[in-house]
């Protein structure tokens, strides 16, 4: 399985709005091969959002980016972001909460 952990930074005052977009998106990705889509926020500032995802494969993840719902979510979030991202990919072996 494919694992992804990354962050995005929102423009001041827009973090809650982007979190809401991501939470709505997380309800739609299961059918596309997503097992975990965890949304979190940094405690040190009020602009950073952390996301952790586990997918059947990187191909499933990449293909999902073409879904109309996902494209709409990205379109809604992008204007609210500063453009600063971090990302870390890895191979999921197992554990609690992993199918």
């Amino acid at each position: 399985m494919y694992g992804y952990f990354g962050s995005m930074k929102t423009r001041p005052g827009h973090r809650e709005e982007v979190v809401a977009v991501l939470l709505r998106a997380s309800e739609q990705v299961k059918a596309a091969g997503c097992h975990l889509y965890v949304v979190g926020v940094a405690d040190e500032d009020d602009q950073t959002i952390w996301v952790h995802e586990v997918w059947d494969s990187k191909e499933h993840h990449d293909a999902s980016l073409q879904n109309p719902e996902t494209r709409a979510a990205i379109g809604a979030a992008m204007p609210l972001l500063t453009g600063e991202f971090t990302s870390q990919e890895f191979s999921v072996v197992g554990g609690l909460g992993v199918p």
Copy 2:
């Protein structure tokens, strides 16, 4: 909820052994307030392990470190690690796979 994402580096040739220790540990943390304990490995090298955890609270996480089973797992893994760690804490808001 409390989120943690971190890495550890194993001594050459010992990654599978440490992964096995972590997977066994992941079976025992649920009762201590852990919801997700995802174990992964880096694709870029054969020494790095990634762990993502979601707990009811940081207090639940910290208290779990005193459990005899957890202390035994840490004791088993430590000699196999180089001592290089990374860690990122955050507050989990929700998402797929989060209770």
